[in-house]
Structure formats: structure tokens, C-alpha cells
Symmetry: C2
Subunit: 215 residues, 2 copies
């Protein structure tokens, strides 16, 4: 397992989980004292981790009032996905022509993981493997800054995801699209790859916007 070199690194990881899992609810204030205590650290590394999350848009910050878990409006959501489109399309456009045969084999391996996780109904494993799949593709672009920005956009909506993968029908559909995408990659068909990735995003948007509109 990846060990933590610093406390703040571990805190950051735990915070991401707390936010993505909804244990820290959107809109809720992050009370530093109690949260730091519950994580077993002091407020200093917690605050530094929160600054990172602020930069990613996962939390908002108001001086002298503190940090609040980001509460996306539907407009925010639309903007995030629009930005994702721009960035992901570019990553794919650059990356697909650079894919080696080994890369594609590796992508196939990950898809096996995704389907295995799907079979055993392990939603969080599906989420993780799905993410690995898409980012392995994005990283083929050799544009680390671009990949980081895409990561930020994914994180920004993580708190609202997870619903999609809970429905078996969605999972089946996703697996099918994944396989189709790998076929397109093998053929180095950039436009088809982009189109399939876009279809994925559309699904996400519709599911997440349902979740947001609720309250």
C-alpha cells in the first residue's frame, strides 16, 4: 500500500473520501477542531489539505468563517462538464495516436477489473477501476498538466457520483461502451473515441443533475 510521507497527505486522501462518500455533506461547514480530532491530527495539516481542496473547487472558503463543502448548482455542474469536454477531447485527440499496443492491452486488463467489480456488485471498486481506465487513456496524451485539470473536474462531481454505478443496467451499458471504445482505440479512431467518451459524460450529467435538483 502507498504509505503517507506526511500527515497532510493522508488527511487529504481521507477528506476526499469523506466528501465523495457524502459523509461531509454539500453545503456543510467543515469545523476544523472536531474534524482534526476525528482524523487524529492537529488543525495545521488539516487546513493545508483544505487549501488544496479549495483550489480544486471541492470546498469553498470564506475568511473568518471557514471552509464549506462545495454545493454545486446545476449551472456549476453544466460548466464543469463543459470544461471536461474541452479538456478530455484534447487529451484523447493527442493521446490516441500515441497509444502503443501494450497500452491498449493494459486498458483491456483494467476493463476486466471493472467487469469483475461489477459482477461482485462492488460499487466503489467499479468507480475506482472505471476511473483508472479513463485516466490511463488521458495519460497517453503525455500532458500531465492537462490530465491534472481533468482530474480536478472529475473530483468536483465525485460527491454526486456513485449513483450511476448502483444500477445494474447502467453497469452493463457502460461495460459495453468501454469495449466499443477499446475497439475504436485499436483502430486509432480518434473521432469515435471522443464520441464514446462524450456519451459517457452525457450519462454522468443526467444522473448527477437528478441528484442535485432533489433538495
Amino acid at each position: 500500500m502507498s504509505e503517507n510521507v506526511t500527515a497532510q497527505e493522508g488527511v487529504l486522501r481521507e477528506l476526499r473520501v469523506l466528501i465523495a462518500s457524502g459523509q461531509l455533506e454539500p453545503g456543510q461547514q467543515v469545523v476544523q477542531d472536531s474534524l482534526a480530532a476525528s482524523l487524529g491530527v492537529s488543525r495545521v495539516p488539516l487546513r493545508e489539505a483544505l487549501k488544496v481542496l479549495e483550489g480544486e473547487g471541492q470546498v469553498t472558503y470564506h475568511p473568518h468563517r471557514g471552509y464549506f463543502v462545495a454545493d454545486l448548482s446545476v449551472e456549476d455542474l453544466v460548466e464543469v462538464y463543459r470544461i471536461r469536454s474541452l479538456l478530455e477531447d484534447e487529451a484523447i485527440r493527442v493521446g490516441v495516436p500515441l497509444l502503443t499496443d501494450e497500452d491498449i492491452e493494459y486498458l483491456d486488463d483494467i476493463l476486466n477489473d471493472v467487469e469483475a467489480a461489477a459482477k461482485s456488485q462492488d460499487v466503489s471498486a467499479v468507480t475506482a477501476a472505471n476511473r483508472r481506465f479513463h485516466f490511463a487513456l488521458f495519460e497517453a496524451s503525455n500532458m500531465p498538466r492537462l490530465v491534472r485539470l481533468i482530474k480536478n473536474q472529475w473530483d468536483a462531481t465525485d460527491a454526486y457520483r456513485g449513483v450511476y454505478f448502483a444500477a445494474p443496467a447502467n453497469l452493463a451499458h457502460m461495460n459495453q461502451e468501454h469495449r466499443t471504445m477499446v475497439a475504436a482505440l485499436k483502430a486509432r479512431d480518434v473521432e469515435k473515441s471522443i464520441a464514446l467518451q462524450a456519451a459517457h459524460r452525457e450519462n454522468s450529467v443526467s444522473v448527477v443533475s437528478q441528484v442535485i435538483k432533489k433538495p
Copy 2:
């Protein structure tokens, strides 16, 4: 003047200046103790400001070794500008059709500032006003997250800029392009606006890459 609500806010602003002006040189380690002392604060707000800059790619961080002023390679530079293209093109595409006549008047006013600053040879005033001009345009998109990402990309190369504006010939050329751009905006000519903005970036790239290649 904009007063600082918190110290870290002021520290952040000062750090940006130190980096953009080259007083903190690329590659150089940021020694927290001495820098905090010279800024008149303790290390805590300084560290939080550095975390923000890390998120923007202005400094890099190595656990237990500290922060270092980002030292862009030419590849990094190319990537930053490629990302800028994606994001700025979108902002313009969305924003230009939304521009009101008052917005365009305002842009004209800013251009007067730019030219006034140019006439008085005030490089930093030119830089600031030029930035105001372009971001006023970007903000017309009503996409705050997108604008923030663009801002980050600009900041990432700030340390290397300023050379361009030092040459009077460049200034004259820039002013001319600005005026042409406003004309395109008045005509709501999206494609021409994008093209002019792209020309601006090309100039930046060539100048900044000269500076980077030097050592």
C-alpha cells in the same frame, strides 16, 4: 485600495509579485523561515499561500524538502499554451455573443489605460491593464470556473513575461491588435476574435520560450 482580510491573502499577493518579478527565481527553493520573516508573518500563513500556488503550478512541492519556484521546461510552456488555447477559445466563443454595448465600451476604456501606460513606459502598468482587458473579455462568458483555469495558466508563465512589453515595437503592435479585436467584438465576429487572441498567444510563446531556453 483592496484591504487584506487575512494575512495569508496578502502573503499570496506578495508571493505572486515576487515570482512574477523574478525576485524568487525559477528553480530556487523557498526557504520558509527567512521568507516568512521578510514578509513579517509566521510560517503558517506562508505555507497556506504556498499550497495555493502549488495548486496553480507556480511552485512545486517535495515532502520534507519544501517548495521550489516552478521551473518550466519548453515542453511545459507548450502545454500551458495549448491548454490556454482550449480554454480561451471556449470563453471567447461563449462570451462574445453575450457582450453588451456597455461591455465593449468598458473594453475600450481599458485599452485607453493600456495605451496610456505604454506611452509612459510603465511596463508593470501595461501588464496589469493588458490582463484586465483580456479577462474582461473572458468573463463575459459567465463561466467563472473556466475563467479561473485561464487565470491559472496565465499565472504559470507570469515569471517569464514582462520582456515582451519592454520593447516599444511590441507594444505598438499589441495596441493595434487590441483595437482590431474590439472592432471584431463590436461586429460580434467570434472567429476573428479567436484568431486575434491566438495571435497574441503566439507572440507570448515565442518571447517566453526565448527566455526559458537561455540557461
